[in-house]
């Protein structure tokens, strides 16, 4: 371990490690974005594990700090797995289907970062 020689160096180290403990703060903080990935048997079989890992990777790469990525059980849309649900603060959540790992990265960029709803990938909710 090299010694830290200034406050700025200390801040740089803090910023580097911050993301690694960031997920431990509670998700019910109001301005937090929540991304849930379906990880039941159907999801895993369709590659949701790759999807969730791609999302985590992309969030770190983009330097986003206010996002929690959690896994959830089967939502009943087994035909559309991997399913990803994104809840932006004080907005109704949006459910996306068939989100492969590469689509997942795009989704993080477009929906989470830029706030765009990617209409083509949305699953119609049956009520």
């Amino acid at each position: 371990m090299a010694t830290i020689k200034s406050l700025d160096e200390l801040k740089a180290i803090r910023d580097k490690y911050k993301s690694s403990v960031d997920m431990r703060s509670s998700i019910d903080e109001e301005d937090r974005i929540r991304i849930a990935v379906g990880m039941a048997t159907c999801g895993i079989a369709s590659g949701s594990r790759e999807t969730i890992n791609a999302i985590v990777e992309e969030i770190k790469a983009q330097g986003l700090t206010n996002v929690s990525v959690v896994q959830t059980g089967c939502l009943g849309y087994c035909y559309a797995e991997p399913v990803v649900e994104i809840s932006m603060p004080s907005k109704e959540s949006i459910l996306y289907g068939n989100i492969t790992a590469s689509k997942a990265k795009e989704l993080v960029d477009r929906h989470v970062k830029k706030g765009e709803t990617v209409k083509d990938w949305i699953i119609e909710r049956s009520r």
Partner: protein, 597 residues
């Protein structure tokens, strides 16, 4: 760095380790590796979550699900169900005793709802053995800020503004203490962290050192900068092996990163920290005795003044603060004294950590704002009395404190309100007692402790407390007289008036306070020769209620003295003259016919 998507936080404090959290961690790790998830999910050993009663505690983030009483076996289920399939394992959730509702989130639990964590902020959140995790949560930023942007005077002003008072029990304003030590001129000065936690039932200092050792190291260096000291000692009892181990690791890592040692963060400020182990003598929590012990002398107090701020370690000005006090320092520097002073009561600012023990449902550590009522602590956070028994009293302040009864349950707790009702804050231990506790016996228990722990220097404390203990023993054996009660009062006052240090000055407190609130129990022992709580053996009599007895003969068989007589299917009788009150008959009776009286 790997991009982990899930952290499994497992408590590695002494409490949870005692309930097998290490095998749980091993089991979790094994299962994660087997599932091929070791690049995505990791297990973090953290400090104490406080909910020791329900340990081992496992919290999964970012899902924010809080599991209790996890075993190495159920850890396997956790990985297979929760981690792999995203299904919450219901049977490992905390169940609210009243509503029988299973609660997922920590913040929903009554135990956590009213808590506000400042001193315990990182306990249960970070890995105490990894300095980078501490840095990630703004660790060493307060020290960095002070060294770069604040003069020592400004640091002291901020602490004064916060209103922080010593958490070891004295309640002296920390900022003033720092200022006095700063003003005293000397070639060298010292900082001491008092980690000689000795009150029976109190373990907040241990938990802070185990769960967040760097917060104490950083605050000590900060104090060093503020008062002009270049080294510090942590005086910790050798009975805390885990805390010592974590401290050693923390000190080593801090030196490696240059956060302790020469020219910290490229400034002129240098600070060294040494560990000094105590042998666990209660009196060494007293600051002058503690200093004697560090210097290699006997752990005996000396006359104050001069206070350590003038003449302390090696006769140099020395600032001594308790662990919990130090744990509050960095947030004050980072967020400001004004912020801190908005929390708490009129005269006591901030929060206080309490250790709940005794006949209470949720044994553990809680941190609440000063001014919280005792009723909230015992009945809301603490979950009330075990087995639905009736509340009798809470002993605060350990052997130096006193008891608080039902009538004072709604007092807002702070340093001054506790003193006003004849108890004291002490280090924050709270022993809860129910109707089955005999208050004379409790007073005797505490006296036994102080008799053992008296250093022997002052006659009043050395001999007087021994006599007090003897009188109490006499009373619990049913041989007490009215004069004994008078003698207890007089002698208690003499010991309080003529002892040098806090130990002797407060040793009779448990007697005075129980006499004040439970005079009728003393009377019952002395006049009626009975123990109302049914604890003091010599005063116990067992009795068989004739209409409840079925004549099953079990009690007669169990009686070691063979003094229970009666025919099969007829009511039995105990020969009260010969009875030794061992209670064997009461234990075996299936019909509740045997009662204590």
């Amino acid at each position: 760095m790997n991009n982990y998507r899930m952290d499994i936080l497992v408590c590695g404090g002494t409490g949870c380790q005692a309930s097998d959290s290490i095998p749980v961690i091993e089991s979790l790790n094994r299962e994660i590796t087997e599932a091929g998830l070791d690049q995505e999910v990791r297990v973090i050993t953290t400090g104490c979550f406080g909910f020791c009663e329900q340990g081992p505690i496992v919290k999964i983030q970012p899902d924010n699900v809080f599991y209790v009483r996890v075993t190495p076996e159920s850890a396997v289920t956790l990985i297979r169900e929760h981690v792999i399939k995203g299904r919450v394992v219901k049977e490992l959730l905390y169940e609210e005793p009243e509503t029988k509702q299973k609660l997922e989130e920590q913040s929903d639990m009554p135990f956590y709802r009213k808590q506000e964590r400042i001193a315990l902020r990182n306990c249960g959140l970070i890995d105490p053995e990894n300095i980078y995790e501490y840095i990630a949560v703004d660790g060493y930023m307060a020290l960095g800020k002070a060294l770069n942007e604040m003069t020592p005077e400004l640091v002291i002003d901020e602490i004064k503004k916060s209103g922080l008072r010593g958490r070891g029990g004295g309640g002296f304003p920390t900022g003033l203490k720092w200022e006095y030590t700063r003003k005293n001129k000397s070639d060298r000065k010292f900082i001491i962290c008092n980690a000689d936690e000795g009150d029976p039932g109190a373990f907040m200092d241990r938990s802070i050192l185990e769960g967040d050792p760097h917060s104490v190291l950083e605050a000590m260096a900060l104090a060093g900068y503020a008062i002009g000291a270049d080294s510090g000692y942590i005086y910790i009892r050798a009975e805390y092996p885990l805390a010592i181990n974590r401290l050693k690791i923390a000190v080593k890592q801090a030196y490696e990163l240059g956060l302790l040692g020469k020219n910290i963060l490229g400034t002129d400020f240098s600070f060294d920290i040494y560990l000094k182990y105590g042998a666990g003598a209660f009196v060494c929590g007293e600051e002058t005795a503690l200093i004697n012990s560090i210097e290699g002398g006997r752990g005996e107090p000396t006359v104050k003044p001069p206070f350590p701020a003038e003449v302390g370690l090696w006769k140099m000005p020395t600032n001594i603060n308790n662990v919990e006090t130090f744990a509050n320092i960095c947030p004050i520097i980072l967020r400001g004294g004004d912020w801190f002073s908005t929390i708490g009561s009129e005269r006591s600012k901030g929060t206080k950590v309490f250790a709940l023990a005794g006949k209470i449902n949720n044994v553990g550590l809680v941190e609440v704002p000063m001014g919280t009522t005792l009723r909230d602590i015992v009945f809301d956070l603490g979950g009330g009395i075990k087995d639905g028994r009736k509340f009798k009293a809470v002993q605060t302040g350990g052997p130096s404190g006193g008891c608080i009864t039902e009538e004072n349950l709604d007092i807002q707790i702070d340093y001054d309100s506790l003193t006003e009702i004849g108890s004291m804050m002490g280090s924050g231990g709270m022993i809860v007692m129910d109707e089955d506790d005999c208050m004379v016996n409790i007073a005797k228990f505490y006296l036994e402790f102080t008799v053992d722990e008296s250093c022997g220097r002052c006659t009043a404390c050395r001999v007087g407390n021994k006599r007090l203990h003897e009188i109490l023993t006499k009373i619990t054996e049913g041989k007490g007289t009215d004069e004994d009660l008078e003698r207890l009062k007089d002698l208690s006052q003499i010991i309080k008036d003529s002892s040098l240090c806090g130990l002797g000055q407060t040793a009779p407190n448990p007697i005075l306070s129980t006499m004040k609130y439970f005079w009728h129990e003393y009377q019952a022992h002395v006049v009626d020769k009975t123990c109302p709580a049914g604890v003091c053996k010599a005063l116990l009599k067992y009795h068989i209620t004739a209409d409840k007895c079925k004549g099953c003969t079990l009690c007669a068989k169990a009686c070691p003295k063979k003094i229970i007589s009666g025919k099969v299917k007829e009511a039995h009788i105990i020969n009260k003259e010969e009875c030794i009150a061992c209670g064997a008959c009461e234990q075996v009776c299936k019909f509740g016919a045997v009662t204590r009286m």
